[in-house]
């Protein structure tokens, strides 16, 4: 615990930003009054709804902190690398992990703040929903591109000629992509909201959804899954039995973070469709994904610490 406090103190500016984001998010959650429709749909009183939102907000905030610690440990490790063969790859990978870590509070705050705003300014709803969707796409596209680039650079120092997903994994991805496209275009509220108190998912025509939402998302998820496959391959093929052993946790962590961020984004983007599910099922799904992301960051932190031992001993 003492080591963590020292780490957070050392990188006080970033820690402060995360702490401010956490305070803002919890305040917005408490201040937000759920609509009468939502309360009656889930048979909740206002107090119960607030408490329920807090049970989501608090674990969310804790996961941001776990993510921050995981990223900082990776950052500390990459500072030891200087100009080694693996330095360029790890530094690019770290930049991507930084984007993924910042995306956690960014996406939550953006959606919560805009939801709070359009609850009182209905005319701004469509613009804010569009902005929320595009901001997330741009942010994650950069993050996955960097993680992919970093993993490709790492793989280049091994004997492996070609990285990325295997034929079987690509086939699975094609099935997943087809299902995703099917779900997006079967979303009855993708263009227009069902009632005055709810929102549409995109507020765009089908062509715009396909060209500016679906294709970029499928491309960035492809980059993310390919990066995860590259990391597993790098861990298997890189020279050095002790190094490989230390790398195991880090590779698993990055694979977990990338894979779950993709799944979390899918769940968030299909939230209107998933709203049909029962509240318990929705919450369970959300908690499960958040736990896996937190687990990914814990593995990343532990892996970076083990690799750092090689650089410090």
């Amino acid at each position: 615990m003492r080591g963590l406090a020292t780490l957070l103190r050392k990188y006080w500016a970033l820690s402060f930003v995360f702490l401010a984001a956490a305070t803002w998010y919890v305040t917005l959650t408490v201040a937000n009054i759920p609509s009468v429709d939502t309360l009656s749909k889930y048979h909740l009183s206002q107090l119960q709804a607030h408490l329920l939102l807090l049970t989501i907000a608090v674990p969310y905030v804790l996961i941001w902190m776990v993510g921050l610690i995981g990223f900082l440990k990776l950052h500390v490790y990459t500072k030891f690398l200087k100009a080694g063969k693996d330095a360029r790859g790890f530094k690019t990978l770290m930049a991507g992990v930084f984007m993924l870590t910042v995306w956690l509070p960014f996406s939550t705050l953006l959606s919560t703040t805009s939801a709070n705003y359009y609850a009182h300014h209905a005319a701004a709803t469509a613009w804010l929903v569009r902005f929320d969707n595009y901001a997330n796409i741009v942010f994650l596209l950069v993050a996955f591109y960097l993680v992919h680039l970093g993993s490709t650079r790492l793989l280049a120092i091994t004997r492996v000629k070609r990285g990325g997903m295997s034929h079987r994994q690509t086939a699975l991805y094609v099935i997943f992509a087809a299902l995703y496209v099917f779900v997006v275009f079967n979303d009855s509220v993708r263009q227009v909201a069902a009632t005055d108190t709810t929102t549409a998912t995109y507020y765009l025509s089908d062509w715009w959804i396909l060209l500016t939402i679906v294709i970029p998302r499928l491309y960035m998820w492809f980059l993310g899954f390919s990066a995860a496959a590259n990391m597993i391959l790098y861990r298997q093929e890189v020279k050095g039995a002790i190094y490989r052993d230390a790398l195991r946790l880090l590779a698993l962590g990055i694979t977990g973070i990338v894979g779950t961020t993709v799944l979390l984004r899918i769940v968030q983007s299909l939230s209107t469709t998933l709203n049909e599910l029962s509240l318990t099922l929705l919450l369970l799904l959300l908690y499960l994904l958040l736990t896996i992301i937190a687990g990914g960051y814990v593995l990343l932190a532990k892996g970076a610490e083990r690799l750092r031992k090689i650089e410090e001993s």
């Binding site: 693996d86 050095g240 002790i242 052993d245 650089e311």
Partner: protein
């Protein structure tokens, strides 16, 4: 040239255990404990370097099989380097 060869042979063995971290690892040990850059290692530095490598590797991993394998190969290298000068002396005496 001979100095470079010793470094390259130690590096070759170390890369099998420490991968891309091996050059940094050797450079750090040579600079901190032997007071010279790793590329200027000589056969006389090897016994001391092996001791430092063993100490450092024990901190990184608990896998005794790996540690013993790594140390075994380094000690073998140190032995072959020690034998050479003795063999040269015997040859000179005979002459």
């Amino acid at each position: 040239m001979a100095h470079t060869t010793i470094y390259q042979r130690v590096l070759e063995i170390s890369e099998d255990y420490l991968g891309p971290a091996a050059p940094r690892f050797l450079e750090r040990l040579a600079t901190n404990h032997l007071g010279k850059p790793a590329t200027r290692l000589t056969h006389t530095d090897l016994p001391e370097l092996v001791v430092w490598i063993k100490l450092a590797v024990t901190v990184i991993t608990e896998d005794q099989t790996l540690i013993n394998g790594y140390m075994g190969r380094l000690e073998e290298l140190a032995d072959t380097q020690r034998v050479q000068p003795v063999a040269k002396r015997v040859k000179r005496k005979k002459q």
